[in-house]
Symmetry: C2
Subunit: 106 residues, 2 copies
DNA sequence: TGAGATATGTCCTAAAAGGGACATATTGTA
DNA sequence: TACAATATGTCCCTTTTAGGACATATCTCA
């Protein structure tokens, strides 16, 4: 039984709770889509299509979990996202549930 | 911001990581499908179709996370599932990942 | 005896999700 | 100058998932 459950479970959590993982990333520091894509791919070992990411970021902003500001980097425009109070509350609630999950070993 | 994130996130985790929650339930004590359905519905507030549950239990057995024994209760047959070492290892790995998730608040 | 609960199983269709392409623009490097 | 990387966005078709029905059998209680 030398199976790599670790990698499998991390990928499952990343895929199914992707919005939360993104909120957590942006919570550490404001970030733009392209950087988030790279971070998710290196940190969690999951391919993240930009065709899935950008609409997700927009929806998270619409729901009030993120705000965005356009930043100019030379002629290049970055849409930098910052987490809101609501977004922080969501992460906090998530962490509390995880704590319960761990304690409920019985 | 009086929204009930708690309920929403618990339901998301239950739906997306249903197999793990079921393994955790069976880990506390051997259980059969119908009881699992009731437990999941009352504990997590999620409707669980038996048409989804029974095939899932069979696949978890095929993968070696569970074993089953048929038990007679009068003329009624219960397929009682017990968790295997592999199943316990999976839960353990899951809990370790959750611990990392909580610590990585940065 | 009939209805509701217990108990397990399959199957089909509709809805959702995912993959990959189409689209555009700039910067850096070979 | 051409290609890879940075940067953001939409769209369509395929694949996967989910809901609900079909199926069967026993037990309990009114």
């Amino acid at each position: 039984m030398t199976e790599n459950f670790q990698k499998e479970i991390v990928q499952r959590i990343t895929k199914n709770l992707l919005d939360i993982q993104i909120l957590k990333l942006i919570n550490t520091e404001p970030m733009w889509g392209y950087k988030i894509k790279k971070e998710v791919e290196t940190k969690f070992g999951v391919k993240l299509r930009h065709g899935a990411l950008y609409p997700l970021l927009n929806s998270l902003e619409q729901k009030g979990f993120l705000t965005s500001q356009k930043q100019q980097q030379g002629g290049r425009t970055r849409k930098v996202y910052t987490i809101t109070k609501k977004g922080k509350k969501y992460i906090e609630t998530y962490h509390n549930i995880l704590k319960e999950q761990i304690q409920n070993k019985t």
